[in-house]
């Protein structure tokens, strides 16, 4: 199975090579690296996902000595690898360029957010193909705007506030709880994707 992850890294090599320097460059200009980290991680992870979506590639992977379980699992483990790469780059970038040590809470937040997004996007993409993700994102954005305008006018402020609270919390128990819930969500999504993928016809 690690061969499959290695394959994904190999395929994303050029993307990584262009995106990581870009990420470091952005760090010098912009301080809100949580959003940048989230965006970059999602871009690479979904790019890796999309490159294996063609039915001919699925034929190849399923004809090679791998099980469907392994093929799905490689994507979930690979995603963690990619987000860690991004987080590590941010950490070193900040250390070298801005001469500051990034708080582990902020890095943890990036990882948690990516894991939450992936938990929804992977099963969705296995079921419908990732090209429909854009439609899904636009639809959810419209719903988000509607909510902001009709019901909670200050949703953005509230989210910002929430992030602020999350980052300054003192109770480590609460952090553990959050981490645990995110991991639980990720594992459930993983199992769901295996279920969906093993029923697929190419």
């Amino acid at each position: 199975m690690f061969n499959l992850i290695r394959k994904d890294i190999m395929l994303q090599k050029t993307t990584l090579m262009t995106m990581l320097p870009l990420l470091i460059l952005l760090l010098t200009l912009e301080r809100s690296f949580i959003y940048i980290g989230l965006l970059f991680s999602m871009a690479i992870i979904m790019n890796a996902f999309a490159s294996d979506e063609k039915s001919s590639i699925n034929t190849l992977l399923n004809s090679l000595p791998y099980t469907r379980k392994e093929i799905v699992s490689s994507k979930y483990i690979g995603a963690l690898f990619f987000v860690l790469t991004i987080v590590l780059t941010i950490f070193t970038g900040n250390l070298i360029i801005n001469r500051e040590i990034t708080m582990w809470k902020e890095l943890g937040l990036i990882i948690c957010l990516v894991m939450i997004f992936i938990s929804f996007m992977f099963p969705f993409s296995y079921k419908f193909k990732s090209q429909y993700l854009l439609t899904a994102v636009i639809v959810s954005f419209v719903i988000y705007l509607l909510i902001v305008n009709l019901f909670i006018n200050n949703l953005n402020d509230k989210i910002r506030e929430l992030v602020g609270i999350l980052l300054t919390l003192q109770s480590s128990q609460l952090y553990l709880l959050i981490a645990f819930s995110v991991i639980a969500l990720y594992v459930c999504s993983w199992l769901l994707s295996i279920r969906i993928y093993s029923k697929k016809v190419f």
Partner: protein, 289 residues
Amino acid sequence: MENVIELQHVQKSFDGFQLKDLSLSVKKGFVTGFIGGNGVGKSTTIKLIMNLLQPESGTVSIFGLNYKEHEKEIKQRIGFVFDENVFYENLTLAEMKKIIKPSYKNWDDNLFAQFVKTFELPLNKKIKSFSKGMMMKASLTIALSHHAELIIMDEPTSGLDPIFRRELLDILHNLMQDGEKTIFFSTHITTDLDRIADYITFIHKGEHMFTKEFYKIEEEFAIVKGGIELLDRDTEQEFVSIRKSNHGFEALTANKGRIENIFGEMVLVEKPTLEDIMFYTKKGAEQYV
């Protein structure tokens, strides 16, 4: 004799098409040609054999093992060639090899290099720039570089020029020399089979018509030509199907000896080609529906 592939009472249905109670076996150490028209279930059968599809009922066993418990073990021993490009288009053959090599325990770099040399394949050109023939050579190179015991090919000769088709058949012929390998391949270019196949498996509309040794087909089947006055309700039963014209009839029989007994010298009995057999069987199947 040992069976490498065994399908038993396999059932699989799609919209408007189904495999009905399909049972077939492929013998170890031989080349089996898998024939049938377009859309009769050849690719579906191959996908079932590769575990790309699972049957609704019935069993598929390869090397005597089932996919449920031995999936990886089985696939380690299979080399596959599909009629479409299944590689990453934007990679070169060298990069593709790097991806596939670690999947197989028995990957042989020397063998790979040898095939690349024989086929004159470019290692550093993107696969999407390959021609149909080069694509096939590349697929074959990958399929043959891990000492697979069973080689499964879906329409490997379609879209290839006649010269390369012959080369391909020669390569396959050479592979068979040690008697350990088994080749199963589908095709609708039946003349390819004259050169290489030991067994012929014929399916029509999702049903297994027969699996026979090649030479036996010529012994059993025959094209019969004669005057129309020879045909009546009883004699017509002797044929798979009949084509009538003003000059007489032409028909296929599955029992050459019996026809010779019945008609004797009154008819002309000829050797059928596989195409004849496919054509008349299709016609016969349509008549009795």
